[in-house]
Amino acid sequence: MTDTQPRTVAQQILAAHGVEDVSPGSFGLARVDLVMANDVSGSVALREFERIGAERVFDPDRIALFADHFAPAKDVRSAEMIGRLRKFARDQGISHYWEAGSTLNAGIEHTVLPEEGLIAPGDFIPGGDSHTCTYGAFGAFGTGVGSTDIASAMALGELWVRVPQSVAVSYTGTTGTYVTGKDLILAYLARAGVSGATYAALEFSGPVIERLTIDERMALCNMAVEAGAKTGIVAADQTTLDWLSDKVTDRPLEPVTADPDAEYADSVEISVDGMPPLIARPPSPANVTEIGSVSGVRVDQVYVGNCSNGTITDLQQLCSVIGGRQVAPGTRLIVVPASQRVMRQALKEGLIETILEAGGMVSAPTCGACFGGHMGILAAGEVALATTNRNFRGRMGHPDSSVFLGNAYVAGAAAVTGELVDPAEVLDR
């Protein structure tokens, strides 16, 4: 591709990071702005880093490490694993290390990095977690990779990349009262399936996206990987700049936008007119249906949290349904604010009190039960409604348990009725 050829957002970002040929399918090396790893991906990455034989990371200020999956330590093995990550951070002089209870403003990686002002439009961030695509909400190119990639990027400050084809996904129409960013990505997954966007960079746009808050853009971009995408990006606009302005203070904020005639492998238009809240039925995030078609399914556990939907917006949405109501007999409500900042804000707004008064429980920020780790594991036969991003067989516990994915309003409605139901029905009762 020559310099004169128009570029998509993903191509602009890769070109700005040293990839010489940004035509889709070509290979190159991209300079990284930040490398992220957690206790799980870090566990293997540290071992591979040692095998590489590099004594120091390429730049300790460009590495971010999180104890969030098995933290607070679930058992002895987890404690030892987190201990190795903590020691690595100390030995390498990495100051961007977060562990709830020990460092300020800790929490789930994808929530904390933007809060801490470490993500800016145009950044290229590989992370040892598939949901690293969440940073697309800020007009950045975040992409999930494995541990050996992380080890290599920590040593070199570069990542090998295959340039993705771009797919334009535009949303039009007027969103219903209880329809959120979660439903927008589920609507896309309903069309694309779990592999429809394999290796693509999704670019979300349209009037619905322009009106979407940052929290909901994060929910949208977070699940791009569920369609197989390499990343999902909302080009930075005024909403992005307003949100970042008091967080990113050490460098200029410059939105990266697509050239007018940039080439897209595919264009998808989704109208949200008349669209109700959506649900992904087990065992696939692309097994999407309208809330009405699963109405009445009994729910043993409602789980609100994780890197897609554990934000203050989600807690507000949840509480708008459960406020003044009680968790239904036989149902548990577990709420996991995604970060200590979200927790503090929720305290300030009285949301934690609302949850506790309803009979729900609030946990420390952790990836916890979302991936079947701890803090709310399901028994055989149990059914959960979760605001998380995956519902594969056994994802949150026993292989014979099942997980329905939905937004935080739906979670609220399920918590107080003990079943899947349109939130509108609860609030009108």
């Binding site: 991906s41 293997v44 058992d75 494995g146 780790g373 067989r393």
Partner: protein, 169 residues
């Protein structure tokens, strides 16, 4: 890839096998490869996980390895002695990780559709083909860049060379 050709028994899996089912989340705090290997495909429907023997070749459908980026999936597969994976297609991160750790992965929708569980399969890397009895399927040549990593023996060695070449160690 060290060997020019390998052969082994096919263990057939379906479409969209996810990494949660390849190596379930609760075991992600294990570090010993052998221990991880014991839980291979534990929550995947059926008994494939139990049946896998050293030397086997996994043959899967579309989008093998979708979901989580956990490299513990590759570690568990290698720990059980699996020689290679043939699939109609692979999920992006799984493919990266396999290339990076030197686990041979071959895309062939035709071979994936034709090979049955228990078939004896031969993969000739030099000739670029998958063989079963009197049939064979051509494999698309892999991009030169990936060959560079694979020929180095994986990303660890490739990175070591690059560090040396750029004068950083």
């Amino acid at each position: 890839m060290s060997a020019d050709a390998i052969e082994g028994r096919a263990v057939v899996l379906g479409h969209d096998v996810n990494t949660d089912n390849i190596l379930p989340g609760p075991y992600l705090n294990l570090t010993d490869p052998e221990e991880l290997g014991r839980h291979l495909l534990e929550t995947y429907e059926g008994d494939a996980g139990k049946r896998i023997q050293p030397g086997d070749i996994l043959v899967a459908g579309r989008n093998f390895g979708m979901g989580s980026s956990r490299e513990q999936a590759q570690i568990a597969i290698l720990a059980r002695g699996v020689q290679a994976i043939v699939a109609a297609s692979f999920a992006r991160i799984f493919l990266r990780n396999a290339v990076n750790v030197g686990l041979p992965v071959i895309e062939s929708p035709e071979a994936s559709a034709a090979i049955a569980d228990g078939d004896h399969v031969r993969i000739d890397f030099t000739a670029g083909r998958i063989e079963r009895r009197d049939e064979h399927w051509r494999v698309a040549q892999r991009p030169a860049f990936l060959s560079e990593i694979i020929d180095a023996g994986g990303l660890v060695e490739w990175t070591r060379r690059r560090l040396r070449a750029t004068g950083r160690t």
